[in-house]
């Protein structure tokens, strides 16, 4: 009976599990880090830890989703709903507001996509990766933890490479969150324009939102405005132009 219930309600179990994980993360964020580390970053790290545990327990390749009770995670976190949710965030972008970011915002966005990609590829190369698909996926992971798996899925990268790519993006997001308040003065991060430049360069929405929230709450929407484009631009450029350029080089 229990097995039947678990199988039939798998997606709902996944909703409940992720909700519980987010709730616990919000608590940890408030109690342990006084909100300095964004709850979503903690939840993602916890999910990666659980995926590691799932791998240890089952010996499978799909992390926690290999446990029958949590099979619904494969649907909730699968490519269909993931792409669906990412596209939906574009709805929040006001094109008129975005234009005000102007040329500097666009330059920052482009640099914020190409440079992390180049750094990610160079580091992956120095660690012995030689195929363009793995290199591009790892480079894309250095852009954001969304661009990494989207690129990896589009190019058909292996799951270990995808996981490394996500881990890079998550670590980048956590570093941005923690280091933004520390480096804010040195970056001149005290006005809307520099916040937009920051959002374009630093990328990850949760990293930028968390980092700016800990620096100056009023700067959050400006940073998020360019950061919102960041994932879209990365998803557009990484599996296409940047991958093609890279495969010419390799």
């Amino acid at each position: 009976m229990a097995a039947k219930l678990l199988a039939e309600q798998s997606l709902l179990i996944a909703f409940a599990l992720v909700g519980a994980l987010m709730g616990a993360s919000a608590l940890v964020s408030r109690m342990l880090f006084r909100g300095r580390i964004h709850a979503s970053a903690i939840a993602i790290l916890a999910a990666l830890a659980l995926a590691w545990w799932g791998g240890v327990v089952t010996g499978g390749k799909k992390g926690l989703a290999d446990l029958p009770a949590f099979a619904g995670l494969a649907l909730l976190g699968g490519s269909m709903l993931r792409d669906f949710a990412i596209v939906s965030t574009a709805f929040e972008v006001d094109v008129g507001e975005a234009r005000k970011a102007g040329l500097l915002g666009a330059v920052a966005l482009l640099l914020g996509t190409v440079l992390p990609f180049a750094v990610g590829v160079a580091v992956a190369w120095s660690f012995g990766y030689r195929d363009a698909v793995s290199l591009a996926t790892l480079g894309a992971g250095a852009v954001t933890y969304i661009v990494g798996p989207v690129t990896g899925a589009a190019l058909g990268a292996s799951s270990p490479v995808m996981a490394l790519s996500i881990a890079t993006g998550v670590l980048k997001a956590v570093l941005v969150m923690v280091m933004t308040p520390v480096c804010a003065r040195a970056m001149g991060l005290d006005n809307p324009r520099s916040a937009m430049i920051f959002g374009g360069l630093a990328g990850t929405v949760s990293g930028v939102a968390g980092g700016l929230a800990a620096t100056d709450q009023r700067l959050v929407p400006y940073g998020a405005l360019t950061a919102t484009f960041h994932t879209g631009l990365g998803c557009l450029l990484c599996p296409s132009i940047l991958f093609l350029a890279l495969s010419r080089l390799v």
């Binding site: 799932g54 926690l64 709903l81 965030t89 709805f91 250095a142 969304i146 890079t168």
Partner: protein
């Protein structure tokens, strides 16, 4: 109706991903080329058209924004089904790539910010 928003979002996503697949075929890459990004542009275009013609109802917005609100939880679910065990073999690579990237981007924020400040002052 909220379903109009969700249906619009689904349509944009499907068309975007299909365009990405077609672009991949045309470019001879075994990949979906920027399908998600194209879908986002379609949705932004659809949104501005709806707003211009006064069809952007609160219910329609709800049908899209509910999914935007689920974006982080879906990313959490995605993280929970990754092959992390295999990923940990490359530990130092992740740390080095992330630290170098953040360091480079942060130093550029200061440079670009000053550049813009000088131009507009």
């Amino acid at each position: 109706m909220a379903i109009y928003g969700t249906a619009l979002l689904a349509l944009c996503t499907i068309i975007g991903v299909a365009l990405g697949e077609a672009l991949g075929l045309a470019l001879h890459v075994k990949a979906n080329v920027g399908g998600v990004g194209l879908a986002m542009m379609l949705l932004m275009a659809a949104r501005s058209w709806l707003a211009r013609t006064g069809r952007l109802t609160p219910q329609l917005r709800l049908g899209v924004e509910f999914w935007a609100a689920l974006y982080i939880p879906i990313v959490v679910a995605m993280a929970a089904q990754q092959n992390v065990l295999a990923a940990l073999d490359g530990g130092p690579m992740v740390a080095i790539a992330a630290v170098l990237t953040v360091g480079l981007c942060f130093s550029l924020v200061g440079m670009l910010g000053r550049l813009g400040g000088a131009a507009s002052d």
